[in-house]
C-alpha cells in the first residue's frame, strides 16, 4: 500500500488553502473511489485531507421554486431517498440507486461521485500500463487494445476512456451547476462545462483548479424534472457500471413532446448531452417511435466507434429512445 498521511479538515477556508499550496494533497470524503485508485496505484497522493467534518456541506435543500441544492458531502443513499428529490427529479433517484451497492452508496459523497474516475481497465490496472491519464506520455493501450467499454463520442487518440458516473448523466441532462469554493470565493460551473474532453491532456478531467472544493450541486427547477427517467444498461443486473445509459426528462403537450432533456452515459469522456436530438424531438409524438428514433439519430452523426464498441452506436440510440419513452409515460 502506498504510504500517505491522513489529515482532518474542520474549516473549509483552511482546507482550501491547504489544497492550494500542496500539489501532493487530495481531498477525501467517502473514499469509495480514491482508496481503490490508491490501491491500484492509479493515483498516489502523499496526503489525504479528510473533509467529512466540514460543516453544512451534507444538506439537501428542496428550494421553494422547485430546484434542489445538494451539499457535496451528502451521501448518495440519503439523496436517493429524499422525498423531494424522488418527487421532483426521479432521474436523480434512479441514477443513484442504480449505482454501486448499498454499502458504497452509504459512504460515497455527491461531490466525490462526480469526481470519480474512469473504469478503463488499463488506467486501473495494478501494474503501470500505457495510459496517458495515469502517466502522461505513456500512450493509450485501450486505443488499439480492448475497448468495448470505451467511448464513441469525444475521445482522442490520446485517451478513449468514458466517465463512469450515473449521477453525472442525470445532472448534465438537468443543467445542474457545480458550486465550487476557492480562495477568492465561490463560482458556479454549468454541469456541461464541468468535465472536459481529453484532447491531448486526458489527466485533467474537470475544470476544477487546485485549491477549489466542490461545496454543492444546484439543480435548477425544470418543467421536465418530474417526467424523467434514468435507464441503465449493463451486463450484470446489479452492482455494475453502465455499458450505455440515458437520462431523459420531458415536458409534453398531450402526446407531443414540448421540450426534452437527454444525455447519455458510458459513451464519452463526459456525460454526453444530445442537444441536436433534443431540438429535433421537439414536437414529435410519443406515439411515433420511428420519428423519435430519427430525431435521436440527429445526435449520432459524429459518433466514432473503436474496434470493439461499434455496437454502442446503435445500442445508445435504442437506450435513449427507451428512456425517452419511459419518461414520456410519466408526463
Amino acid at each position: 500500500m502506498h504510504p500517505f498521511a491522513l489529515l482532518r479538515a474542520h474549516d473549509a477556508t483552511a482546507a482550501i488553502a491547504a489544497h492550494a499550496q500542496d500539489p501532493e494533497l487530495a481531498f477525501i470524503a467517502g473514499g469509495t473511489d480514491l482508496l481503490g485508485l490508491i490501491k491500484d496505484r492509479a493515483t498516489l497522493p502523499a496526503r489525504l485531507l479528510d473533509i467529512n467534518g466540514l460543516p453544512d456541506m451534507a444538506r439537501i435543500d428542496a428550494r421553494p421554486e422547485g430546484g434542489l441544492s445538494i451539499g457535496a458531502l451528502a451521501r448518495m443513499s440519503d439523496v436517493a431517498v429524499h422525498p423531494e428529490v424522488r418527487k421532483r427529479f426521479p432521474v436523480i433517484t434512479e441514477a443513484l440507486l442504480f449505482s454501486a451497492s448499498g454499502q458504497l452508496r452509504n459512504m460515497a459523497s455527491i461531490g466525490g461521485n462526480i469526481m470519480q474516475r474512469t473504469r478503463c481497465a488499463y488506467f486501473r490496472d495494478e501494474d503501470d500500463l500505457p495510459c496517458n491519464k495515469r502517466r502522461p506520455g505513456s500512450g493509450c493501450a485501450a486505443r488499439h487494445g480492448l475497448n468495448r467499454n470505451h467511448a464513441i463520442f469525444g475521445w482522442s487518440d490520446v485517451c478513449v476512456a468514458t466517465n463512469p458516473s450515473d449521477l453525472a448523466v442525470a445532472l448534465a441532462a438537468l443543467d445542474a451547476h457545480v458550486i465550487v469554493r476557492g480562495a477568492s470565493g465561490e463560482r458556479s460551473i454549468p454541469f456541461s462545462e464541468f468535465h472536459r474532453l481529453p484532447g491531448t491532456t486526458p489527466a485533467t478531467e474537470t475544470v476544477l483548479k487546485r485549491g477549489e472544493l466542490i461545496v454543492a450541486i444546484e439543480v435548477p427547477p425544470s418543467p421536465e424534472g418530474r417526467a424523467s427517467h434514468y435507464l441503465k444498461l449493463r451486463d450484470r443486473q446489479s452492482y455494475e457500471f453502465a455499458l450505455v445509459s440515458a437520462a431523459a426528462a420531458v415536458a409534453v403537450d398531450g402526446r407531443r413532446l414540448r421540450s426534452v432533456r437527454l444525455a447519455l452515459g458510458g459513451v464519452a469522456p463526459k456525460p454526453w448531452r444530445l442537444t441536436a436530438a433534443e431540438a429535433a424531438l421537439s414536437g414529435v409524438s410519443l406515439d411515433d417511435p420511428g420519428a423519435l428514433a430519427r430525431a435521436i439519430a440527429a445526435s449520432f452523426g459524429d459518433a466514432r466507434p473503436l474496434a470493439h464498441n461499434a455496437f454502442k452506436i446503435e445500442l445508445a440510440q435504442r437506450v435513449a429512445l427507451r428512456a425517452l419513452q419511459i419518461a414520456g409515460e410519466r408526463a
Binding site: 500500500m1 502506498h2 504510504p3 496505484r41 473504469r119 481497465a121 488499463y122 486501473r124 490496472d125 495494478e126 501494474d127 503501470d128 500500463l129 493501450a141 488499439h144 487494445g145 480492448l146 468495448r148 444498461l233 451486463d235 450484470r236 443486473q237 446489479s238 452492482y239 455494475e240 457500471f241 455499458l243 455496437f311 446503435e314 445500442l315 435504442r318 437506450v319 427507451r322
Partner: protein, 736 residues
C-alpha cells in the same frame, strides 16, 4: 432415524457466519514476516537487471530474486494427481519471462503493507518481445499434445462416414472465453520451519497430500517432515488443487529467514499466478437420420497452454459417452503454446466446456430435424457407454429428461423461435443434458469411539465450502448408530489419515466411503466386545444378530441393549478405534461405466431491442446417485447453476493482444453473477443408490451442476430470438 438423507445444516455454519472459522490467512503467528510477490508486467522477454536497493533501504527484511534464491528441483514428470504442480515453470530460477504476472521478486517485511510498498521500489529492466496470444489466428498453428489425463484423441466406428450418411447434418464452431476461478478467499500460505528441519504449511488448498508430495520433491524435503493444514477453504473450484509458485516461494523464504513467512496473493495476482480455465475453440459435427437418431459425431477442440506445459482442456471428453451414434464418434484435442501461465482445472473442467458445443449442436439438430429437443435426447439415450462399450452402472438420463421437463412445464412450450412473448419481451425456453466423469480414488479414515459415547472422525480431506464436515458426520453417525451431533469431524491436516484431492466431485463417494468403513470397523470392534468381552452382554449370539442405533448395540431377537459407553466402561477401554481403507479399482478398470447425469431447463426473457438476456427460471434434474444430505446437495447445485450462469452470460477474461495479459483483474472488471441475476432455481434429484460408484451409493454432484447451464440458456435465447449464439459469454451485442 438415519442421518444420511436428512437435510442437516452445516456443522460449522455458526462458526463461519460469526467469523470464528479460522481460514488460512486469518491465522497469526508470532514472529511471522509478510511476503509480497513482485511480478512481471510484460508477457515475453528477459530480465536485464533488477535493482532491489531502494526496497532494502526502505523497510524490506529481505528481497529474493533469481539472482539469490536457491535453485529448486524440477517438477516431476509425468504430471500426476498424486504430486501435482500447477505449472512446470518454477519461480525465480532464471531471467526468462514467459507470462505477464510471472514472479520476478519476493519482498519480505514486518507487515504486509510494508512489503507491498517495498515491492513498488524494486526497479526491473526488461528486454521485451511481442507475446503470442490465443485467438482464431494462433489456433491455426495448434499442435498435437502428449497425453495428460485421458487419451488425446478417440475414435469409435467411423464418425465421418456416419455423419456423411446422415439425413440431417450440423457442423459448427463453438467457442468460450478464458475464465478465472475468482474464489472469494485469495490464495494464502504461511510457512514455518522447526529446528529439526520440518516444515509446517498453512495453505489454501484442496489437496493437502498432493501439496506435501510436490513440495517434498521440488524443495528436496522428506515428505514425512512436511505438515500441510487447511481447515476451511473460501472456495477452491479447482484453482487450489495444485501447487502454484507462491507456496514454493513462501516455503523457501521462511527457511532462509528462519522465521514464519505469510504470503497472500493480491486479487490481481489471482488472475496471473494460479491458473485459469483456458478458452476453447471447438468444432462439432453431427449427422442424424430423419428420426433424429445420431449416425455420427465429430468433436475437436483447440485450447491454449503456457509456453512450458502441455495442459489440455478435454472439451470433447464427454462427447465420447453422452449419446450413442450408430456410425461412430471421433474426438480430438490440440493446444497452442502462448505467453500465459498454465491453465488448470476450473469448475467444471472439460465437461462444462465440451457440453457447450455438443448440447448447442443437439439443439440445432433438433430444429433442423423438426424434433422436440427433449424427444431428440430420449431417442439417443443409451445404456451402453459408446466409448468403452461397458454398460453404465446407473443412468437415469430418462428420468432427468422427463421429470425435469414436467417440473419445468416443457409441454406448454411452443417450439417456433420468437413465438413466446410477454409485452415487449421475447420469452425463450431451452434445455440441455449432461454427463459427468466419476472418480474412484483411495482414501483412509479413522473413527474413534469414545467411552462417553461420542465419536471422532479423522480424515485428511477438505472443506471447500461444500459441507464436508456435515456429510462425513452423517455417514459416520449411521454406521455407528449414534446421533450425528455426537460425531465430531476433524479434517484438513496431513497428520490425519490420507485422502485424495477434493476435486472432480469425488469427496462424498470416496473420502465418504473411507469414513463409512472406519466407522463400521469401530462398530465391529464394539460388537466383538459385546460378544466376547468382559461381562459380554450378547455372549453366545452372532455378530449378524446385533444392530446399532441410538448409541446402543441391540440384539435383534431380544429387547436388550447396551450403550457404547457401558460397553467400553465395562471393558476398561478409553476408546475403540476403527480404521477405514477405501481402495477401489479406478473407474476405467471396472466392469461398469460410472457417470453422473442431468437434464436442465432454462427460461429467459430477452429484450430484443437492447439485447438484454435475463434468466427467469431454471430447473435442474440430476442423477448423482444417492443424495447424502439434500440441503448441502441443493446448495452445491444452486452454486453450480449460478456458476454456469456466469459462464453463459458474464464471465470472460480478455487478453490484450499487444500486452499479452489478462485485463480486468478484479471483481469490478470480471463479472460474476449478482443475486439480481439469479431467479428461483428448482433443483430435483432423481438418482438411486449406485453400488459401482461408491459403497455409499453416491456419485459426483458439485461439478455436474455447472455443466450444460450455458447451452440450456443459449438454446433458450435461440428459442426467444431466432439468434444462435455460439460464442460465450452471451453479451448484449450478440443478441441486439
Amino acid at each position: 432415524m438415519n442421518a444420511v438423507g436428512q437435510p442437516l445444516s452445516r456443522a460449522e455454519g455458526r462458526l463461519k457466519v460469526s467469523g470464528r472459522a479460522s481460514y488460512t490467512a486469518d491465522r497469526r503467528f508470532s514472529g511471522a514476516a509478510h511476503a509480497v510477490i513482485v511480478h512481471s508486467p510484460i508477457a515475453n522477454g528477459r530480465i536485464l537487471s533488477i535493482d532491489t536497493s531502494a526496497a532494502e533501504n526502505a523497510c524490506a527484511l529481505a528481497v529474493f530474486t533469481h539472482l539469490n534464491l536457491p535453485r529448486m528441483n524440477p517438477t516431476p514428470k509425468p504430471w500426476s494427481h498424486l504430486r501435482p504442480h500447477g505449472q512446470g515453470h518454477l519461480p525465480l530460477q532464471d531471467d526468462s519471462i514467459y507470462y505477464a504476472g510471472q514472479p520476478v521478486a519476493l519482498v519480505v517485511a514486518a507487515t504486509r503493507d510494508q512489503a507491498a510498498h517495498a515491492g513498488t521500489l524494486i526497479q526491473v529492466e526488461y528486454e521485451e518481445s511481442p507475446p503470442i496470444v490465443f485467438g482464431r489466428d494462433t489456433a491455426k498453428a495448434a499442435i498435437d499434445p502428449p497425453q495428460f489425463l485421458w487419451p488425446v484423441a478417440s475414435a469409435v466406428g467411423d464418425a465421418e462416414r456416419g455423419i456423411a450418411a446422415g439425413a440431417v447434418r450440423i457442423e459448427q464452431t463453438y467457442s468460450i472465453a478464458d475464465r478465472h476461478h475468482n474464489q472469494m478467499e485469495p490464495h494464502a500460505t504461511t510457512a514455518m520451519w522447526d529446528a529439526d528441519g520440518s516444515l509446517t504449511l498453512y495453505e489454501t488448498t484442496q489437496h493437502l497430500y498432493g501439496t506435501r508430495e510436490l513440495i517434498s520433491i521440488v524443495l528436496g524435503i522428506p515428505a514425512e517432515k512436511i505438515t500441510v493444514i487447511c481447515e476451511y477453504l473460501g472456495g477452491g473450484f479447482g484453482g487450489k488443487a495444485y501447487v502454484w509458485p507462491h507456496t514454493l516461494l513462501a516455503s523457501l523464504a521462511a527457511k532462509l529467514l528462519n522465521r514464519p513467512v505469510h504470503l497472500q496473493l493480491t486479487r490481481a495476482q489471482m488472475y496471473a499466478m494460479v491458473g485459469h480455465q483456458a478458452a476453447t475453440i471447438q468444432t462439432i459435427a453431427l449427422g442424424a437420420d430423419k428420426s433424429g437418431k445420431l449416425t455420427g459425431i465429430r468433436h475437436d477442440s483447440i485450447s491454449p497452454s503456457s509456453m512450458f506445459d502441455n495442459y489440455i482442456e478435454y472439451a470433447a471428453l464427454s462427447t465420447r459417452s453422452l449419446w450413442s451414434a450408430s456410425g461412430g464418434i471421433a474426438t480430438n484435442h490440440k493446444i497452442v503454446h502462448v505467453h500465459r501461465n498454465t491453465p488448470t482445472a476450473m469448475r467444471s473442467p472439460h465437461e462444462a466446456l465440451g457440453h457447450w458445443a455438443l448440447e448447442g449442436a443437439m439443439d440445432e439438430l433438433a430444429y433442423a430435424a423438426g424434433i422436440d429437443p427433449v424427444e431428440l435426447r430420449l431417442r439417443n439415450d443409451t445404456e451402453i457407454d459408446p466409448h468403452s462399450g461397458r454398460p453404465f452402472s446407473t443412468r437415469a438420463m430418462r428420468r432427468c429428461l422427463i421429470e425435469g421437463a414436467a417440473r419445468f412445464g416443457w409441454e406448454k412450450r411452443s417450439p417456433e423461435p420468437r413465438s413466446m412473448r410477454e409485452g415487449g419481451y421475447l420469452i425463450g425456453q431451452g434445455m440441455a443434458s449432461a454427463i459427468y466423469t466419476h472418480w474412484r480414488w483411495p482414501a483412509k479414515a479413522r473413527v474413534t469411539l469414545d467411552r462417553d459415547g461420542s465419536a471422532l472422525v479423522e480424515i485428511g480431506t477438505h472443506e471447500l465450502g461444500t459441507g464436508t464436515y456435515t456429510v462425513l458426520r452423517q455417514v459416520a453417525a449411521d454406521a455407528l448408530g449414534v446421533a450425528p451431533e455426537r460425531v465430531t469431524v476433524r479434517l484438513g491436516d496431513t497428520r490425519l489419515p490420507p485422502s485424495h484431492a477434493s476435486i472432480g466431485s469425488a469427496t462424498m463417494a470416496n473420502a465418504g466411503a473411507s469414513v463409512m468403513l472406519a466407522a463400521k470397523a469401530a462398530r465391529d470392534k464394539a460388537i466383538e466386545l459385546a460378544l466376547t468381552g468382559r461381562d459380554a452382554p450378547f455372549a453366545g449370539t452372532k455378530a449378524d444378530d446385533i444392530y446399532v442405533g441410538d448409541g446402543m448395540l441391540r440384539l435383534a431377537q431380544r429387547n436388550v441393549g447396551v450403550t457404547y459407553a457401558e460397553l467400553l466402561t465395562r471393558n476398561g477401554l478409553p476408546h475403540l478405534i476403527g480404521d477405514g481403507n477405501y481402495d477401489p479399482v479406478p473407474e476405467a478398470e471396472g466392469p461398469k461405466a460410472v457417470f453422473s447425469f442431468s437434464a436442465v431447463y432454462a427460461e429467459v426473457r430477452v429484450d430484443p431491442e437492447l439485447g438484454l438476456v435475463r434468466l427467469r427460471r431454471f430447473v435442474g434434474a440430476y442423477d448423482a446417485g444417492r443424495i447424502i444430505n439434500p440441503k448441502t446437495a441443493r446448495s452445491q447445485a444452486i452454486g453450480g447453476i449460478i456458476w454456469g450462469v456466469g459462464q453463459a452470460l458474464l464471465e470472460q477474461s480478455e487478453t490484450d493482444p499487444a500486452l499479452g495479459r489478462f485485463l480486468n483483474r478484479n471483481y469490478s472488471g470480471y463479472l460474476v453473477p449478482s443475486n439480481a441475476d439469479i431467479p428461483d432455481l428448482d433443483v430435483h434429484f432423481v438418482g438411486d443408490f449406485d453400488a459401482d460408484a461408491s459403497p455409499l451409493g453416491a456419485k459426483g454432484l458439485g461439478e455436474l451442476t455447472a455443466v450444460s447451464v450455458a447451452p440450456a440458456i443459449a438454446n433458450a435465447v435461440y428459442h426467444a430470438t431466432g439468434k444462435r449464439v455460439r460464442d460465450l459469454p452471451i453479451t448484449v451485442e450478440k443478441v441486439m
